[in-house]
Structure formats: structure tokens, C-alpha cells
Amino acid sequence: MRRLTALQELAGPALLVIVTALLGTLVSISTQGYFTDTLVKVAMVVALYTFVGNSGVLSFGHISFVAVGAWTAGVLSVPSDVKPAIMPNLAHMLRDRTTGNLSSLALAALVGGICALVVALPLMRLSGLAAGIATFGVLEITHNLLRYEEKIGPGLNAFSSVPETTGLRQAAIGALVVVVVAFAYGRSRFGRLLRATREDPAAARAVGVSIYRQRLGAFALSGVLAGLAGGLYVHLLPVNTESVYLDLTFITLAMLVVGGATSLWGAVVGALAVSALDSYLAVAENGSSFFGAQIDLPAGTRVVIVGTLMAVVLILRPNGLTGGREFRVWRR
């Protein structure tokens, strides 16, 4: 019974992901893209949740691990015959090697995790505003280096010619993997210890929890998940440095806070709710009919409406749509 109660916390988010994927199979191919994109965003937001939600420390730096994952998977999957045309200055080691879809995703997760670990070793000594600004610095540095280092990627150009393997199925499986890992971590001893440091740092330290080590582990793990999400992203659309920078940082953070930052359920609900609204308005902007409603919005109103609604939710319900609680049908 007890285990069942715990499992419903996984069932809620997982079911939402599956339902979204199934809904995506019902619509036209052009609309399906929005569903795929939404599922990749779910993976990113859950990766962010793994650290931010459990530790209570704000990170602006996670999109840099998404970017690193996207670069890893992208560079390794561009077919070797077109590599010199797209990335003329690529290092020799990378130029001759091309991997398949799955291994590129695994490597994206690995490299994302390693980068996160390296960054976390010094940074997790900080907390509060200093931590926020330092992670912002990480984002700036990553963006700057990826933009101008042409030995490791396309620099200012977009990743064209990456095989577009992230369809609805791959996105759904990826999002599910991330959700399950985040759930397992949250239930584990380490997840509980980290949440204890979030609720009361002094008490946690008094019973012998090392805040530094718990945050370090969570940061590295969420780097792995963010790297995987980045890999999925580059297989979905031609990513460039601007698409994995401030806008994405903002939208994923807002999704997490809108849903409710302290629960996995909140992360998934927030990602889906904001994406659903955003995609619906994007379709409406194009003037086509969607689920029977014919709307015609002038271009650009979408971001204004989404921004307004997010600001309103944050101001009126700062604990998020779910109130930061996990999914429960029944309570113990």
C-alpha cells in the first residue's frame, strides 16, 4: 500500500507525458511538431527541477548543459561527408567521427553531466544570490565559448544536417526516462537529504548532512538530464547558440515556477501548461483553425500573452499551479 502511494507520484507525471504523446498522434504532421517540442521542454524542465526543486537554490546555468548536450550530439551526428561544409574549422578528432542516434544521446548526457560536475565543484560552495549570479556567469561563458569556438561546433551558424530523429516517439521516451530518473532520485536517500537541506539547512547540518555534497550530486545528475534533453533538442530542430540562451533559460525557469518548483508533478504540469498555451497561440497566429476554433492573431501577440499570463500566475500563485505538491489520487 505504501509503495503504491509512492508510485502514484510517478504515475501522474508519466501518464501526462504519455497522454500528450498520444494526443500528438491524432493531429496533423505540422501540428505534431508542437507536441514533440513540448515533450523535449518537459525533459528540460524536469532536469532543472532535479536540482532547483530539491535544493531550493536557483540556477540560471542549466541551459548551458542543454547547450553542451546539443553541441555534443550535434557534432557527432552530422554525416561526415557534409561536416567540412558546415563546420570547416572543426578539430580533426571530431571531424572523422560520426555516431548513431542513441550513442549520440548517451554521450550528450555524459558530457552534460561531466560539465555540470566540473562547474559544481567550486560553485556549490555558494548559496543565495551569489549562487544565482555565478550560475548566470556559467551561462554567459558557455554561450560565449560555443559562439566563437569553431573547433568544437558550428560557431555562429545553426546545426543543419543533424538527422531529425527526435519525433514524437523519441521525445516521449526521452521525457519518460528523465521523469523516471528524477522520480527515483527524489525517492532515494540523496533526494530526501537534499530536500532536508532545503527545508532547514541548520537542522540538516546538525544531523550530519553535508549540504555541499548533496547539492554537488544533484547538480551533476541534473546536468546529465539536461545534456540528454539538449541531445533530443538538436535532433529535433537546427539549434544555434541563441536558441539555447536567455530566452530558453527564462521560459524553462518560468515553466518550473508556474507549475510549482518543489514537486516533479509541478515541473511536468508547468512545462505542459505553458507549452500548450504557447503552441495554441502560435497556431492561432498563423490563422489556421485548431480544435474547431478559428482565431486570427497579429504576429507577436503570442509572446505578449504568454508573458502576461506567466507574470499573473507568478504574482497571484507564487507556489505554482500545483502548489508545489506531488500528484496524489488518495492520501495515506
Binding site: 531550493g56 536557483l58 567550486p122 560553485l123 556549490m124 560552495r125 555558494l126 548559496s127 543565495g128 544570490l129 551569489a130 544565482g132 549570479i133 555565478a134 548566470f136 556567469g137 556559467v138 554567459e140 561563458i141 554561450h143 560565449n144 565559448l145 559562439r147 566563437y148 539547512p201 549540504i211 555541499y212 547539492r215 536567455l246 527564462f250 525557469l253 518560468a254 515556477v257 518548483a261 507577436g300 501577440t301 509572446v303 505578449v304 508573458g307 502576461t308 506567466m310 507574470a311 507568478l314 504574482i315 497571484l316 507564487p318
Partner: protein, 302 residues
């Protein structure tokens, strides 16, 4: 002087770096004042500057005289600040810093997308004050007039602010509130009034910054001052967020450093300026998490 020559720095670079430092110091005070009374990091501060810059651009497009353009800039920025305080800051009072920061993030995003919708991604050009951009020569060194104006105006604003904080009742209330808001209220400080005052002063500084930045960079786009805000925020945290003087010094230091680095780095490395700058910020934060210009360790270290 030989040291300077090795680092490829001339007096012109130093003058420009000082001016940038002055402008950033004003932004730092603007952010720091609101943080002092509300414990809220206003990420949307750059968008206030952006709104002011667009008012200047519109005024110059309509052929308004300069004083009217600057007047419009102040009116728009002050009105927007008051609106922000009423609609965003007040409902958020007392919430966790993370929620407040993300909420102002949302406001920044919203204002930027409104500007994008209204003016388009290419932006507008503000020409009316362009004559300030011309150089004058002081003992063989070309210095743009705006550099001198920016240094003087920043110094005047900071002196005025210091007088306001030290010599007036409302300044005393502001200082008391930023030390301990609850106690200050119990002793009869009116919360709404002191917050409104802080927001207004911070808005006025944003308008001044808008004028300075528009002269230096007449092309006003929706992401105007966004980068500057990020750098200033880093500077404020670096200096020490909790008190106005360290925050100001932090803002000046980071503006001066980025101006100097921009001039000193060889051209093939200057594209990596953000990397050098933020690596330095992270290093300093690791050594002094509470800020370099503070005495006590204010930020808890894990």
C-alpha cells in the same frame, strides 16, 4: 605609464571605461535601492531603461525639442516604475527571493516582447542628442563629450543621492528600512511611502541612464540595456548587495573593468570579453561570497 603601454591601454580607453563605470554605478544604485527596502532583485530594471530610450527615439522622430524628449523619457520611466511597484512588487512582498526574481524576469520578458511587437526587432534611432558623441581634444587625447558628461552627471547623481540618504527624513527612513524593515515599521516608518520613494528614485536613475546610453548607442532595440543589466547585477552582487555604497562601487568596478578589458584585449580575443569578465566574477564570488566591498560576511557560506 609603461605598464599601461604594455597592456595596450591609452587615456582614451581609461576615460571611456570611467564613463561606463559611472553609468553602471547609477544602474547599480537603482537596483540596490529597491533591493534594500524590498529584498527584491529587479531584473526588469534594464527594461525601464529600454522604455526610456524608446521615448527618446520617438521624441526625436516626432521632432520634439531635446528638453521635451528628456522630459518624456523621465515621465515614461517614472510612470512605468510606479506601475511596476503597484502591480508587481506590492503583491509579491514577503515572498521568497527566488519567486520574486523569476517574477521580475517574467516582467522583463513581457516588456521586451511588447517593445518587439510595437517597434519591431530593428528598433529606432534616437538622433537628437547625437552632437554629444563628437570628440573634443584635451592635450592630444580625443575624448567624446558624452564621456565627460556621463562622468559629471553620474558624480552629481551620486552626491545628490548621498545627501538624500544622509540628510533628509525620508532618506533616514530608507536606510532604516533596508537595515530592518519590520523594526522600522514598528517605529513609525510608513512602508508604502518609503518603498514608493525608493522605486521613484530608482526610476529617475533609470531615466538618467537611458539618456546616457542612448547618446552612446543611438540605435534603440527591444533588447537595449539587457546585457548591461546582467553585467550590473553581477557587479552589484560582487560589491555587496545589502548596502548602497558597496553596491555602487561594485557597479562602477565592473563597468570600469569591462571598459578596460574591452580596450586592452587584442582584437582576436576581444570576442571572449564576456568569458573573461564572468570568469573573474565567479572567482571573486568564490573568495568573497558576501561582496568585496563589505566587511562582514553577510552571505551564508555552506
Amino acid at each position: 605609464m609603461t605598464m599601461l603601454a604594455i597592456w595596450n591601454i591609452d587615456w582614451q580607453t581609461i576615460a571611456d571605461a570611467t564613463a561606463l563605470g559611472g553609468v553602471y554605478a547609477l544602474m547599480a544604485v537603482g537596483i540596490g535601492l529597491v533591493f534594500g527596502v524590498l529584498r527584491l532583485v529587479n531584473f526588469a530594471y534594464g527594461q525601464l531603461v529600454m522604455a526610456g530610450a524608446f521615448s527618446l527615439a520617438l521624441a526625436s522622430q516626432w521632432g520634439w525639442p531635446q528638453w521635451a524628449g528628456i522630459g518624456l523619457c523621465f515621465a515614461v520611466v517614472l510612470a512605468l516604475s510606479m506601475l511596476m511597484d503597484r502591480l508587481v512588487f506590492r503583491p509579491l512582498r514577503g515572498h521568497s527571493p527566488a519567486v520574486m526574481l523569476v517574477a521580475t524576469f517574467a516582467v522583463a520578458f513581457l516588456l521586451q516582447s511588447i517593445a518587439l511587437l510595437w517597434f519591431g526587432p530593428l528598433g529606432k534611432i534616437a538622433t537628437s542628442l547625437a552632437y554629444l558623441n563628437r570628440p573634443i581634444t584635451i592635450s592630444h587625447v580625443d575624448i567624446r563629450k558624452i564621456t565627460i558628461v556621463a562622468v559629471v552627471v553620474a558624480a552629481l547623481c551620486l552626491v545628490a543621492l548621498a545627501l538624500l540618504l544622509e540628510r533628509t527624513t525620508v532618506g533616514l527612513h530608507m536606510r532604516a528600512s533596508s537595515m530592518d524593515f519590520q523594526t522600522a515599521r514598528m517605529l513609525g516608518v510608513r512602508a508604502n511611502r518609503v518603498i514608493a520613494m525608493a522605486v521613484l528614485v530608482s526610476g529617475a536613475l533609470a531615466a538618467v541612464v537611458a539618456v546616457m546610453l542612448t547618446v552612446q548607442n543611438p540605435l534603440v532595440t527591444p533588447d537595449f540595456a539587457l546585457r548591461d543589466t546582467i553585467i550590473v547585477l553581477a557587479g552589484v552582487v560582487l560589491g555587496g548587495m545589502n548596502r548602497p555604497i558597496p553596491a555602487t562601487l561594485g557597479g562602477f568596478a565592473i563597468g570600469f573593468a569591462s571598459g578596460l578589458l574591452g580596450g586592452a584585449l587584442p582584437t582576436n580575443q576581444s570576442q571572449y570579453l564576456p568569458t573573461f569578465l564572468f570568469a573573474a566574477v565567479i572567482l571573486v564570488l568564490l573568495v568573497r561570497p558576501g561582496g568585496i566591498f563589505t566587511r562582514a560576511r553577510l552571505v551564508e557560506r555552506v
